[in-house]
């Protein structure tokens, strides 16, 4: 005799430790098995796109910090690049190198949080994430040295960066890049072949390659599904074409691969930082841009490979001091598009892991 079961709806969140912020998932369950889910976002919506239309271009830089607050440098960078393209402001060599160093440090810091939170979602509550926090702290100290801030940097300017690095920065950075590979080895030993990690994440929440492309996913999520696509290589911006680095890909598209790809990417970021330190030229770090900047009328779309994927800014200028339209292409939101297909058929406990493996930041999802 088969048991007759009845579907029921369960609300996860908006306030729930596994949702990494305020995010709600309405799950329809058959026992423990997910039949349907509906993500509900917007709890952190601050209307940044609208607010930005009322402020000058320069006043909007701090807003970009508050989008993806785990990768504020990347958000600063792409916005500055967009305005520079619109207003044709050149950037000094030294500033380009500093931007790359900051963006890659930011990638490591963001991936550390992504991996730490993912392992926490697996049930290893508390301890492993502190290993990642320990190294992230070193990166935040480095950022603190250059701009006095640990989270919201406001470091990029149109035409360069706000400050040159202090004398103690490069020795501290050298120490960090020397030690970091050893720490990544340590995570590897602790986690990558850990039986619990493997059993709970291998083969769980598979995102097939064609769906990954069709659903416009980007960044580590896309590459874990076997698509070799990284904007730093495919459409090089800043000075990325001067560095040697590999683009790691995985082919499984499961939660483990999304974890594993971040581990590999951190090693590549260290490679880039080392090369940038060797090549770092002397000189000024900021070209003066007009205080009351009025870019010529027109529109621009600029994109970078942020830790979460393709982060783009679409700006429309009407030759006034304020942007006519300020749109953010948010990878964290768009990476959630395929979540429903990834979760259907899995158990509720797996949903937490799959969701964690996508590594979203609600500040960017909701904007």
């Amino acid at each position: 005799m088969t048991l007759k079961t009845e579907h029921f709806a369960l609300n996860l969140g908006p306030v729930h430790p596994s949702t990494h912020g305020v995010f709600r998932l309405i799950a329809t369950l058959d026992g423990e098995v997910i039949v349907d889910i509906e993500p509900v976002v917007g709890y952190l919506h601050r209307g940044i796109e609208k607010l930005a239309e009322g402020r000058t271009y320069k006043e909007n830089i701090p807003f970009t910090d508050r989008l993806d607050y785990l990768a504020a440098m990347s958000n600063n960078l792409v916005y500055a690049m967009a305005v520079e393209k619109l207003a044709e402001i050149p950037v000094p060599e030294r500033a380009e190198y500093l931007r790359v160093i900051m963006a890659e440090l930011q990638r490591i810091a963001s991936h550390l949080v992504g991996i730490g939170a993912f392992i926490q979602d697996l049930g290893a509550f508390g301890t492993p994430i502190l290993y990642m926090w320990r190294e992230r702290e070193k990166i935040l100290d480095l950022f603190d040295m250059v701009c006095g801030q640990r989270l919201h940097y406001n470091y990029m300017r149109f035409g360069g960066v706000s400050h040159d690095i202090p004398d103690e920065f490069l020795p501290a950075l050298a120490k960090f890049v020397d030690r970091m590979p050893g720490f990544i080895d340590e995570y590897d030993q602790l986690l990558s072949e850990n039986e619990i990690v493997l059993v709970r994440s291998k083969g769980v929440g598979i995102l097939p390659k064609d769906l990954a492309i069709n659903a416009s996913t980007s960044g580590p999520v896309l590459r874990a599904s076997g698509v070799k696509w990284d904007i730093r290589r495919a459409d090089p911006y800043s000075i990325y074409n001067r560095f040697e680095f590999d683009i790691p890909i995985c082919t499984g598209g499961d939660s483990y691969d999304r974890y594993w790809i971040r581990m590999k990417e951190m090693r590549q970021s260290i490679r880039i930082i080392k090369q940038a330190m060797e090549q770092l030229p002397k000189g000024k770090v900021l070209n003066k841009a007009p205080l009351r900047l009025r870019p010529p009328a027109g529109e621009v779309y600029t994109r970078i490979e942020s830790p979460r994927g393709e982060l783009g800014f679409y700006l429309v200028s009407d030759n006034s001091e304020r942007p006519y339209r300020f749109h953010i292409r948010a990878p964290a939101l768009i990476n959630l598009t395929a979540l429903r297909q990834m979760l259907i058929g899995w158990k509720l406990a797996d949903a937490i892991i799959v969701f964690g493996s996508i590594d979203i930041v609600l500040g960017e999802v909701d904007r």
Binding site: V41, G42, H45, G47, E49, K50, L211, I213, N214, A215, S216, T217, V227, W229, A234, D235, P236, Y301, R303, E310, G312, Y314, V316, Y324, R325, H327, R329, L333, I334, L336, T337, A338, D366, R367
Partner: protein, 149 residues
């Protein structure tokens, strides 16, 4: 390096296939009539030498007498991009065809445009607000929306 496909060159080819579908073309972008949007988008995706398999971004701009929808399309295989645009008229309930049937990536982005700009997408499987709550009045990214309410 990603190549930007010229809207002007493409317009010549499209005009042969879909007569009277082009509103405007420039080296940077291609604007089509909204009733042709779905057909043109399908053509861009299905033609092997164009191969636009990836919908990067959808957004909308309020120009007062019309709304401009801006689609950034990309081909991962050929590494080229195209900015496709269409115009929607009327402020009560402008409508545009949904592209979810071609690219699932349009799902949340079209809902966002509907939510903040008030353009309804015909054929979208779940056309409702994304970021704001269901009872919210108005569409904040429109230029005539007042913050004072």
């Amino acid at each position: 390096m990603t190549v930007a496909i010229s809207g002007e060159d493409l317009a010549v080819k499209l005009e042969a296939q879909f007569p009277a579908s082009i509103v405007k073309s420039s080296p940077d972008s291609l604007t089509v009539k909204s009733e042709f949007l779905l057909q043109v988008a399908w053509h861009l995706k299905a033609t092997p030498e164009l191969g636009f398999d990836y919908l990067t971004s959808i957004t909308a701009v309020d120009y007062g007498n019309y709304f401009e929808l801006v689609y950034h399309l990309m081909s991962l295989e050929h590494n080229h991009i195209l900015v496709l645009k269409t115009h929607c008229y009327g402020r009560d309930e402008p409508v545009a065809p949904s592209l979810v049937s071609l690219w699932q990536g349009a799902d949340f982005q079209e809902r966002e445009v509907y939510d903040l700009m008030g353009i309804r997408f015909d054929g979208h499987p779940n056309m409702k607000r994304l970021l704001l709550w269901d009872g919210f009045q108005g569409h904040p990214l429109r230029k005539d929306y007042s913050n004072d309410t």
